[in-house]
Symmetry: C2
Subunit: 328 residues, 2 copies
């Protein structure tokens, strides 16, 4: 069966949502601030329209995102049988993880900002210039408010949307940050959420476990190719007690060292199984290196898995890196 | 002699500048991104009006700010005898350091955002709600452009102004960030400077020396008062090769640990002389603690100096902290 996706603008997507009554909004696996913030914001807005709506995540989110639930309103019992399925920030149905089998083929509307979206949903609201999915949701909520004649935004929903906008741009530092990111942030600030506390929670707070992990990561730094490549190695023991956000933050450390073009993080997922993360600054194509080792990703951020001892793992990845890093 | 300061708005300040021909713009000592960015932006704008202008700094800026000079235009020889003196981001004339004696009593216009400004200049353009002095300079340049009928903004000047705005807000993370900060950032982004590269330079790039210092700082963390206070100790040997920006960044590390209200950094400035930095999160008044030890500062960030061994130093500071941290 040919699966044709209809591309919608904000107004058409708002119209579609206004026709429904009972929604489930699904996040992607390894849920981050953008998929969660967008889902909770939309859920809260739909509830304010007297619709039944809930959020489900294929994997448990980090407890640091617990405050997102403040955007929700208490609702009557939910009919989980006849729900309209919406996804937020989910570029491909395989990213739905455990929800793929149960929901993946019945998504009515996908709201996304990834240019790589595989058009698995019946309808797609895609803004590939947006730095975050939350900005697409924000524009959609404004359009819903306009059509319904009721302001659906509030402080808690603004905090949800700011969560996705700020985390997907690395708090406005990453190269995807643009004028619209800041314009949207300014609009959200007007709702008066506690931005200082939120920024502390999202970007500054570090657990003693995280600090300990950082210390060990810094002790493990090794340089290759005249300092153009830096490798950090984290054993399973070192990562005990650290959550996904902690590990993500540490993956960007080797790339940040002055003179380093390619930063590599080796994480031991199980005995003899290493997850490799590559982050490049300007000219090395991380995706190509990882693809040669059976992995994938983007030019500036990619990953793969290698089996073996840590030494075997380093030899294989360095061999592949050598083909690319010496080009310039 | 009574020194009366006239408070100006942007239009009046622009009018004052348009009357002059020969300017020197002075930054504060320990020059940061805000004082430097604002001074170079204003200097470039005045030069575009065919005026002679230069920037001087009481202390040498970090080389990471070298790109700010791109905002300047080559000008004819400078007459340093009859210069009109402007200061940017300088709340008090003592902050002019070595320039205080030579220029401190003859400042025609001070452009600032500190509510604590001591009104030492003949004229003052103060916006105490602004998160950075650069935003005040930005509004001033827009007004200058309007009156002169010539757009004085360009990509390089926008990069200067973004430098101050982003560094003074900790890249939009600190509690002084507001809707206007983001609105100004959005406007500046429209000038198309290389924001990704700038953010890397200002917030991400870390020298191997900095990384090494961070590792040692993390190894030195000690907790007191049930984890509400964390102390980091940096000896003179550990700090070799680190610049002021590196040390500033590390001073905020202990405050970021989960559960810590007060972060303390002890830096050995010379044998037996310790510079103490306090950073609190919500209720401890750092200024009071430091004042009791002969220092000063603000509620959330303050400092003092203590002579003695590191142990003596810790005992004295912990004794004082104990009077404040157990209140809550």
């Amino acid at each position: 069966m040919m699966n044709l996706t209809t591309k919608l603008d904000h107004k058409q997507a708002a119209g579609l949502l206004l026709q429904g009554d009972n929604f489930v909004i699904i996040c992607h696996a390894s849920p981050d601030g953008d998929t969660l913030g967008g889902a909770y914001a939309l859920c809260g807005a739909l509830q304010k329209l007297q619709k039944t709506a809930r959020v489900i995540t294929p994997e448990k989110p980090s407890p640091r995102f617990d405050y997102l639930k403040n955007a929700l309103v208490e609702t009557a019992e939910i009919d989980t049988e006849n729900e309209i399925i919406i996804t937020v920030d989910v570029a491909d149905k395989t990213l739905l993880g455990d929800c793929e089998k149960t929901h993946g083929d019945r998504v009515l509307l996908c709201i996304d900002h990834h240019v790589s979206n595989t058009e698995y949903a019946q309808n797609l609201l895609l803004e590939s210039e947006s730095s975050s999915a939350c900005e697409v949701v924000f524009e959609l909520i404004k359009k819903l408010s306009e059509i319904a004649g009721k302001n659906l935004m509030n402080t808690d929903i603004a905090a949800c949307l700011y969560t996705g906008l700020s985390t997907d741009t690395g708090c406005f530092k990453f190269s995807n940050t643009n004028a619209a990111s800041h314009r949207h942030a300014a609009e959200l600030f007007e709702y008066g959420f506690d931005s200082a506390n939120l920024n502390y929670l999202l970007f500054e707070m570090r657990t003693p476990e995280r600090l300990n992990l950082e210390r060990q990561a810094l002790e493990s730094v090794e340089y290759f190719f005249g300092g153009k490549c830096a490798i950090i190695t984290l054993s399973a023991v070192m990562m005990e007690g650290a959550d996904e956000e902690d590990l993500n933050a540490i993956s960007s450390v080797p790339r940040q060292i002055d003179g380093v073009e390619l930063g590599v993080t080796l994480k031991e997922k199980a005995a003899g199984i290493w997850k490799i993360s590559l982050r490049s600054n300007s000219y090395v194509n991380s995706q190509k290196i990882c693809a040669a080792l059976g992995g994938g990703g983007h030019k500036r951020a990619a990953g793969c898995r290698i089996k073996g001892t840590v030494e075997e793992c380093k030899v294989r990845i360095l061999d592949e890196i050598g083909k690319h890093i010496l080009d310039k």
